[in-house]
Structures are given as C-alpha cells and as structure tokens.
Symmetry: C2
C-alpha cells in the first residue's frame, strides 16, 4: 500500500520525472526478471513492485500528454481496486449481481445521452475501442445477412465498409479479422481539417453498388485520433438512410464531449447512428480499460453472438435470465469494466465530467492561441481545435531561413523524433508525434488529464524550444 | 482500504456467506443506482463500495466452487492493484517499458514449459480464453491463406475447423465472427470420458476433403469445461501432421497442469501444437483476467494483424522497435494482464504453482472417492477425475426407488436446479450444474482455490444432502 500510494503522490508532483527512461536491453540486463522454480520472500516481492514502478510511465503526471488516456482519478482507482478484490466475471447475474445491474444502468444512461429515446437499445463494455468497432462491424453484417453466422462470408455478396482516411486503423483490423478483407474498407477523403467529405462518401457508395458490391457499414469518426476531427454526422446519417446502410460512429475519443453542454454540438447526428463506440477511459479519465459499444436496436447483439452454452446459461435458473448478459459477448469470461465508471459518475456527477471536459478543451485552445502566431511554430491545419488535439510543427531556428522545399521537409521530419527522444531521456514531459499523409512528422498534443494547468502548457512549449533549438 | 481488506478477510472466513443473494428486481428497487448530474460526497461513495461488496459473490471463499476461476491470491491482488495504479496500456515499450519486458519473459517461460525449443515462438495476453481461441483460428487461417487479410473469405475455398463435441463454445463463436460460419465447425465425437475420438476426427477430415473443402484447424481440448477431459494430443498431432492442418490446443482450463510433474503427462503432445490457449486466471489462481495465446511460429501474429498505424508505431523512435508489440494484437489499447501472473510466479515459484495444482487435484480425487460408492450419488462418467472436474447426480431418497425410466429422468433433471437455488438463498456454498447431450442436469464440481480443504468438500456433500433430501 505504501509503495502504491507513494507512487500516486509522485504522479501528481511536477518535480518528479514523467519517466525514468532506459533502453530495453539496459532494463533487461540491469535486473533479473526471470521466473524460477523456488519462491521469493515478501521483501523481494515488494522490491519488484518498487522497481516496476520506478521505470513505469507516470500516466497521471500533469505533464504526460502522450496518449489519449491520461490522468489518475482517485475514485476511479479505488473502484478498480474494488473490482480486483471482487475478482469476478461478467457473464451471469449469478456471479456478478451488482456489476451486471450497474452495467445495465450505466449503458442505459449513456444511450440516453446519445439521444436514443428513453435510453433504449443495447450495449456492452468491451476490451477497448478496437474491439468495440469490430463488434459494430459484426452486428451490422449480421443485421443485413444473418446467415453469415452459420454459413460464413461465402454465402453473401461482397460487402463494403466505408470510413474516412483519418479514421482509426481498427476498422481495417476488424475487416481483416471478420473475413471481410481490408480491400473492402473504402477510405473516404477528408477535408483539410480531417473531416469526412460526404459527397465523396456518396460517390464511393454509388461506385461500389455499380460494381455489384453491397455497402453494409459506414463508420464515421467523432474525434479522430490525430486531428481530433468530427465527421459531419448529420450528412453521413442522411446518406446512410438514403442507401439503407448501418451507421456506426466511432466516438471512442470524442464521445466524452457529449457530457458537455458547450461542446456536444460537435456530435450532432450521433442520435441517428445504429451503433456508437464510446471510451470513457479516454476523455473522461476512467482508468484503463473502459470502452462501451452502444447499439440502437435491442436484441441484435444477443442473436448475433449467442451460442447457448448450457454450462453457463442454464434456462432453469431461479432468477430473471435477461440479466445473464454474457451470451451477447464475443468473450466468454469478461472483465468488470463498469464499476470504475459508475463510481466516478456518482462521485463527480454528470456536471463533474462536464467541468473536466470543458477544462481540457479550454487548455487546448490556450495552447493553440499561444503557438498559432509564435515564431518557430506552424499549424498542421488552420482554425481552432475542435477537440483537445493540437497538431503543429516546431521549426528550429536553423530551418526557419530555408525555403519551403524538399530538403527543408526532410530536415523538419527529423525534428520531432529527436525532441521526443530528448524529452524521454530528460523525463520532463511526453507528447506524441507522427507523420500523416504527405505531412512529415508533427507533434500531436492531446489533453485529457484534468490535473493539467496553463503552466503545464507553458512548460511544454518551453521544453520543446529548449530541446529543439539547436536542431 | 478498510472496506476492501475487510472484504478480503471475510472472503476467507467460512462462517460468512458465499453470497447474500437477492433477485435482480429486489436489488434494483432496494437501492438507487441511478447516475445523476450532481456529485456525491465521499461518505456516500464509500457506502456504495460497501453495498456493492455486500451483494458480491465471495469468489475467494473456500466453499465457492461455481466457476473455473476461484480463489483470491494476495500477491496477485496486490499486483492487480499496482497494475491499476500504473494505469497504462500495452501497445508500446514507450508507455509500458517494464510490463512489455515482463510479458516477453513470461510468455517465453510458458512456451518453454509447453516444450517448444528454447521457448521460441510468439504470444500475447488476450482478454480471455474465447479471444485467445479466436486468435488461434485467425492465425491458422492467415498461415494457410494470407490473402484473406486483404481479400476476405470470398477469395478462398470453404475452410473447415474441427473440434470435439465437448469443446468450448468459443470455437463456434470465433468461426461466426471470423466469417467462417458455425456450419464449418465440425464437432468430433467423444468417448464416454469426453475425449475426442481420433478415428472420428480422421474420418471427418477425409470427408471434408472429399467434398472439396479445406481443413485448416483442429482445436483439441486439454481440460474440457464440463468433464475436465484431455483429448489425446499425440494422436491428434499425428493426424494434423498427416493432413497438414494447424493444431491448436485449448488448454485454457488444463494448461495449469503443465506446472505439475505429477499431472503434466495428461497434456503429452501439446509440444506438437501450433498454438496453445492457456489461462492462468483459471487453474493457477491468477486474478481475472489473465489468458495467454502462445504460437509456435514467430512473426505470424504480427503479419496477420499489423496495420502499421503511424501514430503509435513510429519507425524513427530511438529504441529497439521489436518491443513495440501492439501491432500483433486485434486490440489497440490492451490492458496489462501480465504483472499479476509474473509477481505471483516470483512469489510462489514454479514449485508453488505445482503444490497448488497437486492439492486441488487431490481434493477432487477425495470427493470422487467419497461419492462414488455413497448412497444417493451417481457418477456421470466412470473412473478417477483427470482434472478437478467431478460430475455427478445427487439422487434424493424419493427417486432412488424409481425405475430408470423417463419419469425418473425428468424428475432427476429438476433436482440440481432446486438444490442450487437453495444453496444461493442460504448462501452457504455454490457449485455449478448443467445438462450435457442426453444427460440431464448434473452437478459439475471444480476446485481451483487452494484455500479449499477436505472439510470444505465434506461440507459440500452434507449441504447437497441437507438441501436435496426432501426432493
């Protein structure tokens, strides 16, 4: 306990490092991590805990901006400890009575917030957004061609899914796994802000139909991974309605904005979706993992996935079997992911999540306002951030004098990786970078930790300049 | 902390109830579980924790025998708390340096124990055995027809998977999801002990080939869910070799026996498998979830699943990229499931797991020896248990005088559900029951909690008789 609480305290202390970085071979050599025949004593076990935490990333540190999931909510953490202590599975009411009810209550609330009448519909907590998106694809296919369950893809015409070129790679991963194939995922063009262009979507749907293929799914993104862009959901919904295609919204990252009166307009049209992925472990700061897939039509998940295992789902039990929800999952045993979200929601209220989200978005705007006209910065796209994603290049003084040609691009592409490597070696802060399309490596700043402040944003800028000015 | 530790202490206390059972509508009405706009105070939050645990199943209780995952290991629990506190994801070394290394070390050790030379090969911790089995199917398909990834199932002939009629339902679930279809999963006959009959396997493979189908996977089971049967892996391996078919072993439940010198012979031939599912969260008592999929051929998982997301797997990072293992997963974010297993292994040693497993198997034999000749009991199959599964009917006095006819069967089928319901209402113990094939509802006793003793087995028998003698 002392070791863990000490780590928590350090995570919030700006004078400690975000990471004490060592290269893999260093860490492998420095310690003996091997598993042996004989037991170790308590003292050694505690030392392993200390060592593990010494080299861990402090994902709750206010200057850790590297991923979409950051922060360390104390109620969420306590709830996760309780979950571990209860050590059960979600398949039946019999072995997880309260957790099953809380999942029911929480998913219903999330559907109400999405805007489905009376919170009706279905859903599940799944092990991450990629799996939630795969569920959506699986259910959309089942809705159109239920015979796939028994007969496989050989029984149906070629199915085509559509998603934007900025969407998450899990759509392709899902299509590969489900036997649909990545070639059948058509990437729709985006505008310069990373939003799907509806006219291109419609064009590609018509094209696919002309070839005799069957469009079965459009996955719009609410909060893209890199730009934080929101696809125009209303326009997408109109197209899906016109061509009778399942509309999925991947709001893994953007779903949190539904909690904010100020920002939820960015997801207008989500209420017209057939399914929605929403990861409270991202923008809402719930400990990992907590991802929900919400489905508008009730019963579909069950028919799609059920196999009636008689050793789990006995039909002659003494309670209401509609609470044995396990057979709608792809998993058999399923981790309890709901309790941390539920308890945080009780502790913060919807109002608390709203304040959290509004604050993070305000911080992103603060960063944007500082760097948009600052010497040495170039924005990757114009305009105020719609989510907390701020994408920019830092251009060191030596590059500022160069003309905008290939050599400059090539040199600029090497700037972010070097600054990032130095950040990790100093351990002062962490922010992600990547190339995208024809754009060379740029920084992608994201903020989901409500512990971050204006001063932390100022610090990030100073640190980038300190570590990059000689490049 | 007090609330949690109090619960842990109670979990081990035989005088407390395993469950304080309430029907779903009672629990829903008794408390207000709803999510509101406004926050609640700490006192209320703590009360929710208490309420949640009050109605939880004590899965660590020595008289809880209901599922394959039971027990509450204190080192495992501490490790899970540490994992929650570290609150990170497994996709890159960058954000989970130690956990990535521990996964590497632990999976290698598991492969050594399976018997692959030098522990070579590949693997991943996945969210449960069903997903691990689905991975095996996915990888087997990719190995034979890599073009499925891009072109989907339409590009390949009809694929057929084989598994026994006693195998886990996740094989069919996986086939449905992967676009193979449940009709293409052929269920092979079992002998009276629940073991796959190799001659029937070979016959069905030949039959499928004659129809022009392509056998691509045999999934043998090491430790079936209900009978605890071990398929004859050596014979299955010979057949797979002869027909060039991927051999998977679903050792989710039976894998733990590999830790025991006394019992590992039951998995002879597992070293010839191409892939193995092994869930340390079952027989080895690791907190939920901890399931591994091990693959003999290195690199296959990566080629099968990778999508090269440039925002995560940047190729110009400053460390050895082979430790960025995230792209071989179906998931994007992946929960850290390795640490609890690793820390328990350090604390117990291989020798500790061996003692744990030998003890549980000895308890099962103890139960078997008591009831095999006891009045009022009938064994579902003959012979000593191979795993901790003991399957039996309790026949109340009123049924003992009846002839073996349909009426008796029909009455017998109602006995186990009533006794189980009474067990839950009294909260004294829990054991599973189910029908299987033409066998009506019988009890399936399993033991994976090393805290259980001979007295707990005696108690179970007394309790069944106390609750069932009037039926």
């Amino acid at each position: 306990m002392d070791i863990l609480l000490q780590y928590v305290v350090k995570s919030f202390d700006r004078s400690t490092k975000v990471i004490d970085f060592h290269y893999p071979n260093e860490l492998l050599q420095e310690y003996n991590w091997e598993l042996a025949d004989q037991p170790q004593n308590l003292e050694e076990i505690l030392m392993h805990c200390q060592t593990t935490l010494k080299y861990a990333i402090k994902t709750g540190h206010p200057r850790y901006f590297n991923q979409l999931s950051t922060g360390l909510d104390m109620v969420g953490l306590a709830a996760d400890w309780l979950t571990s202590t209860a050590n059960t599975n979600m398949f039946t009411y019999e072995i997880a009575p309260v957790f099953v009810l809380l999942e029911y209550v929480t998913l219903k609330k999330m559907r109400e917030i999405i805007g489905w009448p009376g919170g009706s519909g279905d859903g599940i907590f799944s092990p991450g957004g990629a799996i939630s998106n795969m569920y959506a694809m699986l259910i959309a296919r089942f809705k159109m061609f239920p015979e796939v369950k028994e007969k496989g893809m050989a029984a149906v015409p070629r199915l085509i899914a559509f998603t934007s070129e900025h969407s998450h790679f899990s759509l392709k991963k899902g299509a590969a796994a489900l036997g649909i194939g990545t070639d059948s995922v058509i990437l729709i063009k985006c505008d310069e802000r990373g939003k799907m262009i509806p006219s291109d979507l419609e064009r590609r749907i018509i094209e696919a139909k002309q070839k005799g293929f069957v469009p079965f799914l459009v996955s719009a993104t609410a909060g893209t991974t890199v730009y934080g862009a929101f696809d125009p959901l209303l326009a997408v919904a109109d197209i899906c309605k016109k061509y009778k295609i399942w509309m999925h919204v991947d709001a893994a990252w953007g779903g949190g904005l539904l909690m904010s009166q100020k920002h939820k307009w960015k997801l207008s049209g989500v209420e017209r979706a057939n399914s929605v992925t929403w990861n409270p472990h991202k923008m809402m700061g719930v400990p990992l993992q907590c991802s929900a897939l919400l489905v508008r039509e009730e019963g579909l998940m069950q028919s799609c996935n059920q196999m009636h295992a008689s050793y789990l789902f006995q039909q002659d039990k003494h309670y209401d079997l509609s609470y044995d929800t396990g057979d709608k999952a792809l998993q058999c045993g399923r981790h309890v992911d709901v309790f941390k979200l539920w308890l945080m929601w009780r502790a913060k209220g919807t109002a608390g999540f709203e304040a959290h989200i509004d604050k993070c978005l305000e911080l992103a705007e603060y960063l944007y306002n500082i760097i948009k006209n600052r010497e040495g910065y170039e924005m990757v796209f114009d305009g105020k951030p719609q989510h907390t994603n701020v994408c920019f290049w830092y251009v060191p003084p030596s590059l500022r004098v160069l003309e905008d040609n290939e050599e400059r691009m090539s040199r600029l592409s090497k700037v972010a990786p070097v600054i990032k490597a130095r950040m990790m070696e100093y351990g002062t802060t962490m922010v992600s970078y990547q190339p995208l399309g024809d754009k060379v490596n740029f920084f992608r700043m994201v903020i989901s930790n409500p512990a971050a402040t204006h001063q932390d944003i100022d610090f990030l800028i100073e640190e980038i300049e300190r570590l990059g000015q000689d490049l």
